[in-house]
Amino acid sequence: MPFTVHKVIKEAHEDGIWSVACGRRGNKVVTGSVDDTVRVWNADSMSLMHTLEGHQLGVISVDISPNGSYAVSTSLDSQIRIWDLMSHSLVKALEAGPGGVPSSSRLGANRDNQVGSVKAWSVVFSPDGRQISTGTHDGNINCWAVETGEKDRTLETRGKFVMSLAYSPNGMLLASGAENGSIHIFDVPTGKLLHSLPGHSMAIRSMTFSPDSQLLITASDDRRINIYDVHHANCLSTLAGHQSWVLSVAFSPDTTHFASGSSDKRVKVWDINSRQCIHTFDTHTDQVWGVAYNEDGSRLVSVSDDRSIAVYNVYSV
């Protein structure tokens, strides 16, 4: 059997887990939960290494820098926190509020954060690791410099709330998915809007590029997963199979598979060539908020509202 459940960590957080990221280097897994904490796990043993505290409302999104030394997390109250994964300490707390003035004080950072309309939702590291990008309520994408904590630039979709973001692995493209299902693709060097892709009618909560940066895969509340040819801006396929919102997608580094997690509590693995679901994991007992592959694509991690983390063996077929 190429697909087996490797391990399930029950009660990995004190409440539902909303996001997961696997480090490309350093062999770490980072999870963010509604219990306001970010946890760092050893990817091999899946033992808890550290709990990072400081967020006040649930942690929506986490990402690990390409070099594996930093993690970034955002919470419902629009805090962006950058953590050092070596020392397990807070590097910066960015205030994604209206002023945009970063408060880099290590202590008491939680005292003066701007909360309100969502200024930061999901967060991603750029492939060069120098920037992080967040989507905002008013349809903008803010790019922050990791080094200084300054806001570098703002890309405007002139659309609705940007709920998901993805950089192409070659660093050239940045895709955004909005609450109303619209998708925008920006050229990273110039900041120009290249394409707007139609196809979804409901919120897009997750998106991922293929390792060759040719395909974009999107997960939507309309229960469908779309595969787009990025350069020709057309939808190659629409995959149905989940019985509820698709909350998360992740592309396998083996370039032939991708995984999806859904409100229907299932994790599905899809074959990119046949565009068929080739396996369904029914491990979780509540909606699956996040899926992520490890560096060589041999393992898949999923996190769920049932407070558990599941690790699967997904050897290439």
Partner: protein, 1048 residues
Amino acid sequence: MDTTFEIPLHRQGNQEVLVVNTATLEDPTSWEALLNVLISEGIQLSYFLEFAVKSALQYYRLGRMETFDRFLEAALETSATRSGEDVIVIQILNAMAARSIELAEANAAEFDTHTANATSLLNRAESMDRMNLLTIVGKANLMLVRKQLYQAMYSFRGALQQDANYLPALLGLATVEFQKGDYKAALMHYQRVLVLVPDIQPDVRVPIGLTFYHLGMEAEARAAFSRALELNPENVDALALISVMETNKARNPSTPDKDRGEASKKANSLIYGAYSLHRKHAVIFNQMAERFFLKGSDNNEKARIMAEAALRSATNKVSRGDSLAIKAKIAQSNKRYEEAHTLFAEAHQLNPDSIAIQLGLAQSLIFKKKYTEAVTHLESILSKEPNNYETLMIAAAVYAQVPEMANKAADAYERLKKLLRASQSDGIQSKTTPGDDSSLNDPELLIDIARFYEKTDIKQAQSALERAISIFETTPNVAVPPELYNNLAVLYHLEALKPQSSKDAAQQSMNAAERLYQRAMEAGYEGVEAVRRIEDVRTTIKYNLARLSESRGSAKGAESQYLDILKVHPSYVDAILRLGCIALEQGKIENALQHFADALAIDDRNVRAWSLVAKAHITNKMARLARKAFEKILQEIDKYDTYALCHTGNICLRFARSDPKQCDIHCKRAVEFFTKALRQDTRNVYAATGIAIAFAQLDKLEEARSLFTQIQEAASSNTNVTVNLAHVLVEIGQPHAAIPLVASTQLIYESVVKRGSATDLDVIRSLARAHYIVAKTEKLPDVMHTVAKRLEEAVALSPNDLSLKYNLALAKQQYAQLLNDQPKEKRPLAALREAVIGLETSEKIFDELSKRRADASLGYDVERARERANYSKGVRRVTEKKIHETEVLDRQREDRLADIRAKRDELAEQKRREEEHRRLEEQRQQEELAEMRRRIKEQVQLENEKMRIALQEEKERAERRKSSNRGGGGGGGEDDDEDEDDDARRGDSDGEPRRSSKPKQKRKRKEKPARAEGPSSDEDDEEMRIKRAKSSGIRSKLSAAVIDSDED
């Protein structure tokens, strides 16, 4: 019969006789001459009558009744000039009346004139003699014709009281009873006639046979007919009736096959025999017509001619009805359905008791889609014959057509199955077990069953259809109609779409469906006329295949398939609508609306298209436009469309919510729409729910609750209803603080969440609300904490909903508030600190929310948000104060603890020091002792030395050896010390077996001071640290325990 008559001519006493030779009477003109003679010679009236009857008998077969009439009329005319022949006149009058009655019976069109004629004649006879039996019976006969059965019976009985054996009255009474359906009484009277006059003509055995037949005694009936035939082989009535019996026997499905053929043959020969005997007998005509009709469509014309001939010659209603029914059947087979319907209706009027005719009428009604009328007919048939297979099947099919009668249909099918099983177990192959569809061998019934169950029970429909197909497949020379494959495929497809079917099962079902569609495409009809039909069917299959692609999630494939269909059939509305639906699903609302508009351009009265337009508008949040579309349906197309009614009701409810001023009006309107919908479909859950919601909206919570409870009992799997019920329970629970109620609704909500609608925001929100109420009324900060967490989840699901943020901020604020109100021991510092952070968050959220422009669509009140932000500040101050208080308290406590600890430590230290001191003292003493000993030893040694020196001088050699031994002992002093050290070391490592009873530590402590000063102090330090760590560990545990207990 005599060949000559002698008629006395009363001419002045002459004995002249007019001799009439009957042989000459073959010529009609001779009758005229005879009549003239009779009139001119003034011959007795009785002869008139006699000749009239004779002529009638003579010409009955030729149907020449004119002479009869002429004679009687002439007699009546002459009677006016004469007197004393009243009896004869009465007889003549009666004869004429009887003739009129006969005419009336035979000729429905002139029924009234003839009966009126008969009435006047009889009245005249009655005026001449009131008690004349003949007249009484004549009047009774007239009543009989007029269907005044009871009056007729009364008259006949009156006649019989005068003469108990008066044959016409007896026969009349028998007829009345026969017509009333009292066959036993009729039989009795007929038998009495037979006893009185065994050779009565026409043979009374025929009606006796008929009564036997009606009593279900077929053997006796047959015997009666046969006896009649024996007596008179040319009794056509008997012949015809036996033939009918044979035909029925041949048609009865329970008759063994070989008997059937025989019976059919026998019936044939009988009917032809009868036909050759009597060419004007209606029953025979009918039989002939039926035979021709059954021979096939080529003989329809002959059959029609026969039936019409029968109609012409028929005198009674039953046989006329039969002929009409045959004509109707012919019309039906010639596809002239309207004509068939009128004919059947006419026939039914003539013979309301005939099941065959009623069935035909019902069928024609079904064809005209007048189902309710058809059902009354079918049910009346079934009340007469509850096990009539054909009728049951038709009835079931009709029931299945009409939604209100669906439950009856299920009954009917069960009965049909039972019937079939029963008839099978009667037959040879009774191997099949009951409850198994495989016993059903009638593909038509199976198809009907499948059609009936396709909406309610897909599995059963599937098995029925599969069975039907396998029957078709195994039957040689019969191709399976592609529709069957198609329908079965659709069933599989539907099964795959069921929400409860698992992914794999759905996949399998879809694959099966696809295979079947393919087979349907390959299957074909035979014959040329089928080409068009097959084209239609194939288009349908193509459409279904496209639907299948859609269900498989391949919207693109489906789209191209629909477009393919539209290329061939550009006005295939369904395909256009599906294209619109695909667009709608992809969120291209404009595109979808365009498709729907296209569809409406083809058919602007398409309810589905309008509904979809409305749906698109709803998706686009354009409630008013949606309502317009629904109004279009309701006002112009179908004012009973339940879908449109329910949706319009829902839109009204939405308006009611957004427009609090006119809430009542909107709610009432909504209730009107829902009520209309309910009237159409009494089981419409949505309409019922809508009404309940309107009640809830109008604050009639108890009513709403009882309604929701009822609905939930009826449709327990409907989560919407469950949620609504929970809402209402929460509402009811709130004012009376009925916490158990609210708590139980939490369970309901949670069960709903568990049932897989985890992404249902409303449920999470409601759950949070229920928790909130509990937290507020029971003052439980922890519950409030969960409220905040649930709301955070809700915000994550719908980040755009500002009211959720407002609530989240409120929950955070209330958490702090509740903590503030807790007694001191129940508010740990950690929780308070958390609360303060939450309050800051809350304040900021409120602040942010209050800065927005006021708008009803925000979902909260900006002003209130501002107030809340300020309030949060206030609460925070209080909380901070409490924190300070608690901190102070804690510090004091800690200080006290520290004091105590310090004291304890000090004490311990003192003790230790004392002990140390004591030990040092001891040691010193020991050392002193040792010193003393050493000194004494030294002194002794010294003494010894002295002595040795003294002795050496005396005995030098011997003494030296001894003194060297002693010297070893002296070195042993040092050795002794070393030994002690060794001992100590051993004790450290192994423990001392010799002093095992003593604790190790004591020994250790004893040891330590003996060691160097430096390390000992170090070790002490370490011990202290451990101790401190331990105590602090205990403290943290304690506080954790406090938290725990709080959480509890």
